[in-house]
């Protein structure tokens, strides 16, 4: 929420008012404490049944809240020895009310979620707890599983690659048990979503949603309606991650050698002479000289001529060469480009840049250029999370993004007070003339604190900078650990040591969010952990996350940021003449600027960038909203078919509509027109039903009725021949297949439109308005195409008798219903009838992938939940399970 100084003081802080209201609810919860403490376990457990009965009568969740929270608190104290503090209960109330609780590091967010999860799970509609990775989902579910279990709630966990578990206190993995972990029994995906409480990552909930909307039968859908989700690290998921939509895709055409040619050509260009870089927009613009040089090098007369692909390749190559830097934006590992997440500093295997940029980086690095892809299903996180009836979140850093949470998700932020006062000292920024002097100063500060025995955590913005600083410290003989995406094997140990006496830890943003650094025994008396930031990030949240590693739970600590005029944030927003002028005024490498005013100026620059990035994301949502309307309609139609809507009426309706549309356009008194009509009808009707042109002329005004009668008769005749039951299967398959195929085509076309619509701005037309208008036309076309294909396929379907497979076939992840067994399997050992018509362009199911490091079509087969020895390890190390935790 924007701070309006004196107005806030006059009217009172709205956050304080909220806290005042919630404190009263906490008092009510506390009133139950004594009574519940005296109850035996089974009586406490029986409260769940009582609450459900009260819900079934007249009460609602808000009526139950004080007592239910008190029950959850008491049970947590008994089962896991953690009794939520009153301030945590404030957070719990905020979560239940569908808002964001901002809680500082170490204040116990996970425990805070237990009470609202329990309360909302009483409705039996499924409560989702969303974490940032698989490990946290499993850890939190297993840790609080005993609490929920004792309260009669089932707990499930969804994991990457279709691995699923339920919490089972009796379960122990062992030989022949089917894998899993202690307390976590492997199960079907669907069972997990039927559980009262489901833990999982944002990606898995999203991909399961998309897969469900590609499923060929209702039995293969796994999710229920999305009711309530609590999102952990909500700013990371709903803001940072929201830049990247979830995509399930298949391979497109073979990658072009053009990427290589452009990669070599752009390397000859010189900055300022051949191109200019707009740091703010992160865009590279070629000069006239640059264009001429490239045309000469590539022997292309006109780069901006007929072949528009050349421009695309050129833009991608420039982006890869100039804006993407190894060991900052990506690393090369095992012959692949792996992106480094800007916000978390972690590797993101499986994620790829769009618009050919990833291929261009592969070409730049001399790697094999991989194929491009075709989108099969996609959704942004914004529109995914809007599907939840109620949404809440928690994080240490939400307030700076309160406006975005409100505008995009309608989520309010409430800042929860800490249990003990925060005493960390945040020192003013120090500004140096250049990066070298800045890093020298950082080393000097580390040296001084190290000598005093204080542990120091140094945050760097990239792998390369962490390596640079490490080399400086090595030269000085200061022992230190480095934690970055290239050196993360010892992450847990490094973090364990980071709070010990004299420890020096250099880390990228990996040591930000979620890292709990505990102080060694004598460290608090020395002043606690000192955090040094070596650059300001674009977003204040990321800086605050770094600072937040110090001063947890009332510990002493301090933090300071070192910045220079060479830093990205300064380059983007400090005018170019400022450092030059500072130099002229006598600022030297040894003379830093330090004042609160400078710190405030930098924060204002960050606010500007945050605002700019918010606009970019808002724009992304505005465009996605257009596609979202289409998606809602198409998925709605699919759902109706899966739920057994009257497919006969649907197919016959589309057939009649298509015939009527053709007949409406025909002129029965014109031979030419009738000839065209006959050609069209030939594609729909069977030969024996097709009237001759003479016959059509004779029928005149009765032609339409006659054609429609013949079509309906033929439909009934086929239905009689194959049986109504088989005909329903054919209709079901035909409708799904057609909708899926044209939806995929639509996604590709509308993505192309989105890329090109920006040019409308030159014609003084708002690209969004143009996108909406043209998008609407394309959607109309999509509906027409579906009608057209159904009409042209329905009489061509042949049923083929196939022997029953000897074993039940692996269930079909075959999400889009392509190239797999299409008919439902009803029983074993009897021949089955399958529609057999040529299918156009669908790829094999195995070729489908997600953009989040997993196989999109992993089979939902029984027993598939066991982690294979060669599967990626659950911990996210990227190693095979057998070489990591399975060793």
């Amino acid at each position: 929420m924007p701070k309006l100084g004196f107005i806030s003081r006059l009217l009172g802080d709205s956050n304080e008012k909220e806290l005042g209201r919630i404190w009263k609810i906490v008092d009510e919860i506390n009133d139950f404490a004594a009574e519940l403490a005296g109850l035996p376990d089974d009586a406490l457990s029986a409260k769940t049944g009582e609450f459900k009965s009260r819900l079934a009568e007249d009460e609602d969740l808000d009526d139950l809240l004080p007592e239910a929270f008190a029950v959850a608190r008491e049970m947590a104290a008994r089962k896991v020895g953690e009794r939520p503090y009153d301030v945590q209960l404030i957070g719990s109330v905020v979560l239940h009310e569908g808002r964001i609780a901002e809680m500082k590091t170490g204040e116990g967010k996970t425990l805070t979620a237990v009470a609202p999860v329990y309360l909302n799970a009483l409705l039996g509609r499924g409560t989702h707890v969303i974490t940032v990775n698989d490990y946290l989902a499993r850890r939190d579910a297993a840790w609080y599983g005993p609490v929920y279990h004792a309260l009669g709630m089932s707990v499930g966990i969804v994991q990457t690659n279709n691995i699923s578990f339920v919490y089972d206190p009796e379960y122990k993995p062992g030989e022949g048990s089917g894998g899993g972990y202690e307390l976590l029994r492997p199960c079907e995906r669907r069972d997990v979503y039927q559980a009262d409480i489901t833990y999982g990552t944002n990606n898995e909930f999203g991909f399961d949603y998309l897969r469900d909307n590609m499923a060929p039968s209702i039995e293969q859908k796994v999710q229920r309606d999305l009711y309530f989700a609590i999102v952990d690290e909500v700013d990371n998921i709903l803001i940072d991650e929201a830049r990247t939509p979830l995509i399930i895709s298949g391979n497109a055409e073979e990658a072009s050698g053009t990427y290589m040619a452009f990669a070599h050509a752009v390397r000859t260009l010189v900055e300022e002479e051949d191109y200019q870089v707009d740091h703010k927009a992160k865009h590279v613009a070629l000069t006239e000289e640059g264009i001429e040089k490239l045309e000469r090098v590539m022997r292309i007369p006109n780069l901006f001529g007929q072949d528009s692909r050349l421009v695309r390749h050129l833009e991608a190559a420039l982006d890869a060469e100039v804006l993407k830097r190894i060991d900052r934006d990506y690393v090369v590992k095992d012959g692949e480009i792996i992106i480094v997440d800007e916000f978390t500093g972690r590797l993101m295997p499986g994620r790829r840049w769009s618009h050919g940029i990833h291929q261009a980086v592969e070409a730049k690095e001399g790697l094999r250029v991989q194929r491009e892809s075709i989108t099969y299903a996609t959704i942004t996180f914004q529109n995914l999370f809007r599907l939840y009836e109620k949404l809440a979140g928690m994080t240490g850093t939400a307030e700076t993004e309160a406006e975005e949470f409100h505008k995009i998700y309608k989520l309010e932020v409430v800042v929860i007070p800490t249990n003990r006062p925060m005493i960390r000292k945040d020192l003013s920024d120090v500004v140096y003339i250049n990066e070298r002097s800045k890093f020298n100063a950082v080393v000097a500060e580390i040296e001084e604190l190290n000598a005093a025995g204080r542990p120091v955590l140094v945050g760097t913005t990239s792998i390369e900078k962490s390596e640079y600083l490490s080399s400086l410290l090595t030269r000085k003989g200061i022992a230190h650990n480095v934690l970055n995406a290239k050196q993360h094997e010892r992450e847990a140990n490094i973090i364990l040591d980071a709070g010990q006496r004299s420890a020096v830890t250099i880390a990228t943003n990996m040591a930000g969010r979620g890292t709990d650094i505990k102080l060694g025994p004598e460290v608090p008396s020395l002043g606690g952990l000192h955090v040094i930031g070596t650059e300001r990030h674009e977003s204040r949240r990321i800086d605050n996350q770094l600072r937040g590693r110090s001063g947890r739970q009332g510990d002493p600590g301090s933090s300071r940021f070192f910045v220079s005029f060479g830093d990205d944030i300064m380059k983007r927003f400090a005018p170019e003449w400022v450092p030059g002028m500072m130099q002229k005024l006598g600022m030297t490498e040894e003379m830093p600027l330090e004042s609160r005013m400078v710190t405030r100026a930098i924060e204002q620059a960050q606010q500007k960038v945050e605002g700019y990035n918010f606009d970019v994301r808002k724009r992304l949502v505005e465009f996605d909203d257009v596609i979202n309307e289409h998606r809602t309609i198409i998925y709605g139609e699919r759902e109706k078919i899966l739920r057994g809507a009257d497919t006969r009426a649907n197919v016959v309706g589309l057939l009649i509509d298509e015939l009527e549309s053709l007949l409406r356009d025909a002129n029965t008194s014109s031979y030419d027109s009738l000839e065209v009509l006959q050609g069209e009808l030939r594609e729909i009707l069977q030969v024996e039903d097709l009237p001759s042109i003479d016959e059509m002329e004779q029928l005149g005004s009765e032609l339409a009725d006659e054609i429609l009668d013949r079509a309906e008769d033929r439909f009934e005749q086929i239905e009689g021949a194959v049986g109504a039951e088989n005909m329903r299967k054919v209709e079901h398959w035909l409708l799904l297949e057609t909708i899926d195929y044209h939806w995929r085509e639509h996604l590709t076309a509308i993505e192309d439109l989105r890329q090109s619509v920006g040019l409308q701005a030159y014609a003084q037309i708002d690209p969004l308005v143009a996108f909406k208008r043209e998008g609407y036309d394309m959607f109309q076309q999509l509906q027409e195409n579906i009608r057209r294909q159904v009409a042209r396929t329905v009489f061509k379907v042949r049923l083929v008798e196939q022997p029953a497979p000897s074993t039940v076939p692996a269930p079909t992840a075959n999400t889009s219903g392509v190239n797999g067994n299409l008919g439902p399997v009803e029983g074993e050992n009897e021949p089955k009838m399958y529609p057999a018509v040529p299918r156009a362009t669908a790829p094999p199911a195995a070729a489908l992938r997600t953009n989040r490091d997993e196989v999109a079509t992993a089979t939902r087969a029984p027993g598939s939940q066991k982690i294979g020895r060669n599967d990626p390890c659950f911990c996210g190390s990227g190693k095979k399970y057998k070489r990591c935790h399975g060793a």
């Binding site: 995509i247 012959g335 618009h355 001399g366 790697l367 094999r368 991989q370 390369e464 170019e576 953009n851």
Partner: protein
């Protein structure tokens, strides 16, 4: 001398002066375009050059080792990837 004669003498002078002024202005502008950026942090350039050279050596090694623009085997077994960042 009449006014017409005066104008006849002065006009070419005024025009010539104007032309010189215009020429000087464009020259100044062109010179400003040619000038490098006012200030650039070059303090870590040596270090960057070293890293870039090392990265380039690795790139060349990868290309020569046939990190194979034409290879196909890997494509078949790849089970991840696809797409896209930046909407």
């Amino acid at each position: 001398m009449g006014i017409a004669a005066l104008l006849g003498l002065a006009l070419p002078l005024v025009m010539a002066g104007g032309a010189i002024a215009a020429w000087r202005m464009t020259r100044k502008e062109a010179k400003r375009d040619e000038e490098p950026a006012l200030w650039r942090d070059d303090s870590l350039d040596d270090w960057r050059r070293e890293r870039d050279a090392a990265a380039e050596t690795e790139r060349i090694a990868r290309s020569q080792a046939g990190a194979n623009p034409t290879g196909e085997a890997k494509e078949e077994t790849a089970t991840k990837k696809h797409q896209r960042i930046g909407g």
